[in-house]
């Protein structure tokens, strides 16, 4: 009896220790391979990978999923099997959800190079906070290298500029989109409207005519659905003129941004005045629940969204009606600038192994190539960042079949390269502030002056607080 119990407990104890041990160690499998790479590869600086048999691993964090994600996976798979195999490089793709940038910063906090990426896909607005980490590598010198497949002029000018910070092109454009107006062609025809609205005034008029109400006056089909957050507001501001930046120091590109200029230069007022009239029509839905699905169901006649959603809309609509995209309406009839290039860029990090950085650059060159960009662009709606892509027969045919995509590209080419998203260091906070103030405004809790005042002062306060703690 005694022996039995003793045996039992011993067995239990041993098995739990084993389980713990196995479990604790198995999570860190990837780390051991990178460690061996480190020691082997420290001596080499050539871009042809390590001298040993271990391929150089490049960890690539991204936030694409769905059709776009699949496209990226196939591009990387091809790379690993062809060029990567030749150069002894292997890319490890990791999906990070909405934004991996916060996690990169978190990893940096503890100098945790093991759990950081070599390449991160991040919104261009995160560039300043990324450049603050001393392990971020600027792409500028790589782009100027004559041996590189790509250089600055491989990209459209607006996209180049979106990756500029303090005079250097630090990142490589990757998945770029722009804000577009999507409209239900059939619905517009029914209302007797021909072609999309080009100015805000026309937009307001359209919304009025397109809204369908039921007996109680409640809108059953909205004329327009879009929630104004940072991304949308920025576009409506910078599109007004070449001098309308969101904040000082050219929106934070020539030097860190310290305050907003949209209150002072009147651009915010112009926008809010138009928006106020829009709200009065009662046919504008100012919150987004499931904007894609609602547009596809015909619950909203027009929406303003990123061009990256074209692929999703195509799969949702399924032939029930035809739709088309158009550039966003101008705030004032004489606006010159056009919409900003939005989307994400790729940044490289140095985790202490220069062979990895060179490998990462190789991957970036591949991702920016016309071929790779075509694959990604066709699946998603992101524009091909490489200027050569649109001239290929494949893309020409594609644009014939899906003219909606071409609108985005044309819009970017026509727009001024100076129309860019701002590089504000507290982008999450500013996004939150703008979203809240605009919601308040749409719910009629704020006047135009009140909204301007609140938005500018809160954003400035957030930036001040940041600089106070981080100088």
């Amino acid at each position: 009896m005694k022996k039995k119990i003793l045996k039992k407990t011993l067995a239990l104890f041993l098995s739990s220790v084993l389980a713990l041990g196995m479990v604790a160690c198995s999570g860190s499998n990837d780390q051991t391979t990178s460690a061996t790479d480190d020691s082997e590869a420290k001596s080499t600086t050539a871009s042809s990978g390590t001298q040993g048999n271990e391929p150089v691993e490049v960890v690539f964090w991204h936030s694409t999923s769905g059709a776009t994600g699949e496209a990226l996976e196939s591009v990387i798979k091809t790379y690993n099997e062809t060029r990567g195999a030749e150069k002894n490089i292997k890319v490890n793709l990791v999906f990070q959800g909405y934004e991996g940038t916060d996690k990169v910063i978190l990893a940096y906090q503890t100098k945790d190079t093991e759990n950081a990426p070599d390449i991160n896909q991040g919104l261009t607005s995160t560039i300043p906070s990324m450049m603050d980490l001393d392990w971020t590598v600027s792409a500028d010198s790589y782009l100027n290298d004559s041996n590189s497949d790509i250089n600055k002029d491989s990209f459209y000018e607006a996209m180049q500029r979106s990756c500029y910070y303090e005079g250097e092109m630090v990142a490589v454009p990757f998945a770029n989109s722009t804000l577009l107006l999507y409209y239900n062609v059939d619905a517009l025809k029914e209302a007797g409207l021909d072609g999309p609205p080009t100015t805000m005034d026309e937009l307001i008029d359209y919304v009025d005519k397109l809204t369908i109400r039921d007996a109680s006056g409640q809108a059953t089909r909205y004329g327009l659905n879009v929630q104004v957050k940072r991304y949308q507001l920025v576009n409506f501001i910078v599109s007004q003129s070449e001098n309308s930046f969101f904040g000082d120091n050219e929106g934070g590109r020539s030097a860190p941004m310290t305050k907003l200029t949209i209150g002072e230069d009147g651009t915010l007022r112009n926008f809010l005045e138009k928006w106020d009239t829009l709200l009065n029509t009662g046919g504008y839905k100012y919150v987004e629940d499931s904007i894609n699905e609602e547009f596809a169901q015909g619950l909203s006649a027009m929406v303003i969204m990123s061009s990256s959603r074209i692929g999703t809309i195509n799969s949702l609509i399924d032939d029930s009606f035809s739709y088309m995209t158009a550039p966003i309406p101008k705030v004032n009839a004489d606006d010159t600038s056009g919409a900003a290039v939005g989307g994400s860029c790729l940044l490289m990090f140095d985790r202490g192994n220069s062979a990895r950085v060179d490998a990462a650059w190789d991957v970036l060159q591949y991702c920016s190539s016309p071929e790779a960009q075509i694959i990604i662009s066709k699946a998603s709606g992101y524009m091909p960042v490489n200027v050569e892509a649109e001239n290929t027969q494949e893309m020409q045919d594609f644009y014939q079949e899906f003219p909606q995509y071409k609108v985005a590209l044309d819009s970017v080419k026509k727009a001024s390269p100076l129309a860019q998203e701002p590089l504000d260091v507290v982008y999450n906070e500013i996004n939150g502030i703008i979203t809240k103030v605009m919601l308040d405004f749409c719910e009629r809790n704020l006047t135009i002056d009140g909204a301007i005042d609140k938005l500018v002062s809160e954003c400035n306060a957030a930036m001040d607080e940041y600089y106070e703690a981080n100088n």
Binding site: V287, D289, S290, E294, V426, T435, E443, A469
Partner: protein, 301 residues
Amino acid sequence: MERNQMPFFRKLFRKVEPYLYLIPAFSLLILFVYYPFAKNTILSFFSVDKFRNINKFVGFSNYVRVLSDGNFIKAIRNTFIYVFTTVPISIIIGFALALLARKKHKLSIVYEALFALSMAVSASVIAMIFQLAYNPSMGIINKITGLNTSWLTNSKTALLSLIIIQIWANIGFNFIYIFSALRGMSEEVLESALIDGAVGISRLFKIIVPLISPTLLFLLVKDIAYAMTTASFTLIFYPYTDGRGGGPNGSTETIMSYIYGKAIAGTNYNAAFAATMVGFVLSGIMMALCLVLDQKKVNYD
């Protein structure tokens, strides 16, 4: 010689033994409770940059700043609303259901199974299900009620929507515990009370409630502690990286989600640490109130 050494070691071992048994638990407690608590307290009086390097001593100015932030005050208000609605309502409903189930002995097994089931469902799965249910055009709630409300994106209904989810999530657990406690009540006590003339509602309050008061207190403490420090639903429905942090107009911001937003999304540790301390104090007060309740109203015989 050796014989003398043995008893010495054994004596030493005897003395040290009880402490040895405490080591596993305490080393963890110190590492993950007391050390971070101390660190947080100390750092909250300094200004730190976004890499948590210390700039300088600033006394209470972090606290002043956080307490004058309208968003934080709103977060505190929301948290208390959350606590004072979800906790009593879910306990009362659980109690009522347990009483009902007690009467119908045959079906009680079914009830038990059903409610045990809801314990198996985790917060994020519930969140995803309700997110679809609340969708104004596709979700079942609007389809059934015929309303057109944007439950989760309208600042007036957002918090209410979360409260409903939380109550649903709590009921199962509360039901099981109360039901077991009800079953554990001795029939003799109930019968003697009946003889004394206690019937119906007065029986309920004068006999049943005191009898199961330990269980009720346990549930109260657990639910309040959870509600004071939760942010799960807020962070799932309103991620900070999309500008939606804190819900429409901050109406679903809780103390914890505010801390998360400041620390992780904003790398603003000054605000985060100060807010954490305020959160501590408020939770502590709530717990202390529960302990007072324990002393005064709960009987353990």
